[in-house]
C-alpha cells in the first residue's frame, strides 16, 4: 500500500526537453512499428510507386531514351514514396486526427505540438526509407540500373538535408491543414501529378524552363533529386540544374526556413483554430 502511494506521488513525470524527446519518440513509434505490422500498407506503398516506375521506364524504352533515364525514373519513383508520405501522413495528418477525434487530445495534453509533428516526421521518414530502398533495389534489379557514386559524403549530405527540409515543409503545411476540413483530402490529392511534373520526378529538372525549375526548387525534392542524380549517374553532371555545392547550400537554407516556419505557423494556426472552433469540427 505504501509503495503504491509512493508511486502515485512520484509517477516518474518528465518535463522540459525530456518530455519533448519522449513525445517525439512516442509519436514516431506507431509510424515505424505500426506501419510494418500492416503488411498490405507495405505492399501498396511499394507496388504503387513501382508501377509508376515501370510504366515510365517502358515509355522511355519505347521512345529510345539513353539508359541513364531509366535510372532517373527509378530514383524518382523511390522519392515519390517520401512525397506521398509527407503529403498523406504529415500535411494532412492533423486533418485525419481531427476526423478521428484525436486532435483535441493532442492539444489538451501537456506537451508540445511541435514534438508531435517532429515525431510524425521522424517515424514517417524511417518507415518510408525502408520502402524507398525496396523500390530502388527492385527497380534497379529489374532494369539493370548502374550507379557510380562520385562522392558518398555529398550524397549523404544531400539526402539528409533534402529529407530534413521536406519533412520540415510537411510540418509547416500540417499546421495549415489544421484549418481545413474535407477539402484537405482533395488538396493532398491535387498535390501529386502537378508536383511530379514540376519537381522532375521522372526527368531532369533542367529540361524545364529556368524560372519554372527555380520556382519548383522551393520543394526540397527538386534540388535533392537533381543533386543526387548528379552524384550517382555517370552522365549526371550534364543534366544538373545547379552545381551540387549550390544545391546543398539552398537545401540547408530550406531546412532552416521550413523548420522555423513550422514552429511559427503552428503556434499561429493553433491559436486561430482554437479561436474559430475548428479543432473538433467535422464537415463531411
Amino acid at each position: 500500500m505504501s509503495s503504491h502511494s509512493s508511486l502515485a506521488q512520484h509517477p516518474g513525470k518528465v518535463s522540459g526537453w525530456r518530455l519533448f524527446l519522449k513525445t517525439v519518440l512516442a509519436r514516431a513509434y506507431p509510424r515505424v512499428i505500426g506501419q510494418q505490422r500492416e503488411k498490405s500498407w507495405m505492399f501498396f506503398d511499394i507496388v504503387l510507386p513501382l508501377g509508376g516506375v515501370i510504366a515510365y521506364v517502358l515509355v522511355y524504352k519505347a521512345i529510345g531514351a539513353p539508359a541513364e533515364y531509366v535510372g532517373f525514373v527509378v530514383m524518382g519513383g523511390a522519392m515519390t514514396a517520401f512525397w506521398m508520405n509527407v503529403l498523406w501522413s504529415m500535411s494532412s495528418q492533423l486533418y485525419w486526427e481531427k476526423e478521428q477525434g484525436n486532435l483535441a487530445l493532442y492539444i489538451m495534453s501537456p506537451n508540445s505540438m511541435m514534438a508531435v509533428l517532429l515525431g510524425m516526421a521522424l517515424g514517417g521518414m524511417v518507415a518510408t526509407l525502408l520502402r524507398a530502398i525496396a523500390i530502388v533495389l527492385l527497380g534497379s534489379l529489374m532494369f539493370q540500373v548502374q550507379y557510380i557514386v562520385t562522392s558518398f559524403f555529398q550524397l549523404l549530405a544531400v539526402f539528409t538535408l533534402a529529407m530534413a527540409a521536406l519533412y520540415g515543409m510537411g510540418m509547416m503545411t500540417a499546421s495549415l491543414f489544421l484549418l481545413l476540413s474535407r477539402e484537405a483530402w482533395h488538396l493532398s490529392n491535387l498535390a501529386q501529378e502537378p508536383i511530379y511534373l514540376a519537381t522532375g520526378f521522372y526527368f531532369p529538372i533542367k529540361s524545364l524552363p529556368f524560372w519554372v525549375a527555380l520556382g519548383a526548387s522551393i520543394i526540397p525534392l527538386t534540388l535533392g533529386m537533381d543533386a543526387m542524380r548528379q552524384l550517382v549517374f555517370p552522365s549526371g553532371f550534364k543534366i544538373g540544374f545547379l552545381s551540387v555545392g549550390v544545391e546543398i547550400s539552398v537545401l540547408m537554407a530550406l531546412c532552416v526556413a521550413f523548420l522555423v516556419g513550422a514552429k511559427l505557423l503552428l503556434a499561429h494556426m493553433e491559436k486561430l483554430a482554437i479561436r474559430e472552433g475548428r479543432l473538433t469540427e467535422s464537415r463531411r
Partner: protein
Amino acid sequence: MAVATRNPHLAPRHSSLATGYSEGWRSFRIATWLGWQIESNWADPFLFAIYSIIKPLSGAAILVVMYGIIAKGNFSNPLFPYIYLGNAFYIYAGSMMTGVSWAVIDDREHYKTLKYMYIAPIRIPVYLLGRGVARFITGSFSVIITVLGGVLFLHLPFDVTTANWPLFFISLFIGVIMLAMMGLLLGSVSLLLVHHVGFIGDAVAGALYIFSGAIFPLDVLPAWLRPIGFIMPITYWLELVRRSLIGNVAQAFPTLSGFSNGQLLGILVGLSLLFGIVSIIAFRYCDRIARERGLIDRTSNY
C-alpha cells in the same frame, strides 16, 4: 380479381418487374446526384473545375516533357499521338474504376452510411455504379481538355472531319460500361477488405496502365507479360478509340494491326460481357460473405 385467380403470377410478375426497374433507376439517379455532391461541393464550381483538370493535365504534361526531351521536340512521330491519346482516354479507366470501388469504402468507413444504404429500398450494385458517374463526368472534362490541348499546342494529328465518329461513340459507350463493371468488381472485393485498400482502384488502374498498352505499344513489354494485355478489354478499347480518332497513325503499330475494326469491336464486346458477368457473380458472392461476416458496417480506419 377473377383474372388474378386464374393466373396469379402474371400481375405480380409485371408489377415486380416494373418495381425492380423503377427501383434500379431511382437508385442510379440518386446515387449519381449524391456522388456529384460528394465530389464537387467542397469547393466553388470554378475551383472545382480547375482541380478536376489540373491533375490529368499534369499527368499528360509529364509524358509530353519526357517525350519532348528524348525526341528533341519532334512531335510528328506516330508514337507521340499513340502515347498522348492512350494516356488521355486512360483517365476514364482510373476515374471509373476508382469511382465505383471507392464508394464502398467511402460510405462504409468515412460516412458510415453503407448499412443504411443496405436497408434502404435501393439496388446496391446499381447504387455503386451511380456513384461512379460523378467521376465519369469529371473524367470526361479532363479527357476533352487533354485532347484539345494536344490538338492546339502539340499538333496532335486529329481531324474532326476524318475521324470515324460512329466507331468512336460505340467504342466509348462500350468502354465506359466495361470500366464501370470492372469498378463494380473491385467494389465487390472492397466489401471484404479493410479501409486502406481504398487504394485498390488506384492499384489496379496503375497495373492496367502498364499492361493495356495505354502509353506504349504492348510489344515493349517482355513477351511473357504481353498475354495479360491481350486478355484485358481496355487494350482493345484504347486501340479502337485511337483508330477512330487518328486512323492510320494508330494502325502504324504492329501489336493489333492484324485485326480489323469490326474484329476489335467484337473482341471488346465479348470481353466486356465476360467481365460484366464476372462482376455480377463477384458482387453476389462478396455481398453474401460480407453480410454473413457482419462486414457491412465495420470501420477499420486505423
